[in-house]
């Protein structure tokens, strides 16, 4: 293929998965800057493997696994940045500024406070637990997809998910978020 044809083929294969991949990058790294770096690294790597990519039945799954492996391989770098980079995440330093509220202003404000508490609670989970609960309950991944992505048995995914939810409930009860 010509380079222009390569480019077009690559775009057609990867573009439908951009939002999901970006969110995965964000859930893995926890920061916008690092998520962008990881996303960029994935695209560069994937373009270098275009021949493999065109032959794959489910490019979205393949791209997710490559991204996860990239993250694991370079975790020390990302971990170091997580600790020391000035916060640039989509969540402002003071927490969540707003969300798409549909109820009354009072109820929306209450919801916003609850989401801020959830944000605080999520930070208290281990990296694995936080990732699993966010992928499953926020991003809508199936247990099987998390198993494929992280390479851990479905039973382990399920037990970690339950433990993560239970821990979140405990923290939210302790903080007075739930009565």
């Amino acid at each position: 293929m010509s380079s222009e044809a390569n480019k077009q083929a690559f775009e057609a294969l990867v573009q439908p998965h951009f939002d999901r991949l970006y969110r995965l990058a964000f859930r893995l790294t926890g920061r916008k800057t690092e998520a962008e770096d990881l996303f960029q690294e994935l695209l560069i790597k994937a373009f270098g493997k275009l021949d493999d990519l065109v032959a794959i039945d489910e490019p979205g799954s393949w791209l997710s696994r490559v991204m996860y492996n990239l993250f694991i391989d370079e975790q020390r770098r990302y971990a170091r940045r997580r600790m020391h980079t000035v916060e640039e995440g989509f969540l402002p330093v003071g927490g969540i500024e707003g969300f798409a509220g549909t109820e009354s202003p009072e109820r929306d404000q209450h919801r916003l406070e609850q989401l801020n508490q959830l944000d605080v609670a999520l930070k208290q989970l281990s990296d694995d637990h936080r990732l699993i609960v966010l992928l499953h309950d926020t991003e809508g991944y199936k247990l099987e997809e998390i198993h494929t992505l992280m390479g851990i048995p479905v039973g382990t995914v399920k037990s970690r998910l339950h433990r993560a939810r239970a821990r979140l409930r405990e923290i939210l009860v302790q903080s007075g978020t739930f009565s």
């Binding site: 970006y22 800057t33 770096d37 960029q40 690294e41 170091r80 640039e88 939210l172």
Partner: protein, 178 residues
């Protein structure tokens, strides 16, 4: 606590998680990322510099190691001792130093090498006296936090050497340990 209460709280946790905001990139990010990937092919960009305003770093109470404007084309003259910035660290207490370059132009695939004296380590790189990154600098301010840990009271000089093509500049930071 009765089971009904627990079930209600579990349901509330699930609903909150569903409502938890989903991150979105800046406008144009996907296009830029795609263009970069297809134009650079397998070239790998590592450790991108983090652009940030000086104000936020200062507000965070961090030490800025401002190494000035990068003119790689100019001769690398010896730095007078008096002009070498310095910090004082406490033994075994991590200290973040923010390395800041104000680059006169965008530099793609520059190489940054940080060289540490004996007894000073970079967090995450135990036992390594020399750490190298490949990176790109944007035109303007570029910012990289380095967390240093003093393991002995000897102190010394931390060197940051920036190379691009066949040109390079070296910047020095004096570290005293109390």
């Amino acid at each position: 606590m009765n089971n009904n209460n627990l079930e209600r709280q579990d349901e509330e946790v699930l609903q909150l998680l569903k409502d938890y905001p989903k991150p979105t990139p800046d406008a144009g990010f996907y296009d830029r990322a795609l263009a970069r990937a297809t134009h650079e092919g397998s070239r790998r960009q590592r450790n991108r510099w983090v652009m940030t305003g000086f104000g936020s770093a200062v507000a965070a109470g961090l030490v800025l190691w401002f190494v000035g404007t990068v003119f790689l084309a100019s001769p690398d003259l010896p730095q007078p001792e008096a002009s070498i910035p310095g910090i004082t660290m406490t033994l075994e207490e991590p200290r973040t130093v923010n390395l800041v370059f104000a680059s006169a132009m965008a530099l793609d695939m520059a190489t940054l090498t940080v060289t540490l004296p004996a007894g000073i380590e970079l967090a995450g790189f135990p036992g390594q006296r020399e750490i190298t990154w490949q990176t790109s600098l944007v035109e303007g301010k570029n910012f990289l936090p380095l967390e240093l840990i003093a393991l002995s009271s000897a102190g010394g000089e931390v060197l940051a050497r920036l190379e691009h093509d066949d040109r390079d500049r070296t910047f020095r930071l004096r570290v005293d340990v109390s």
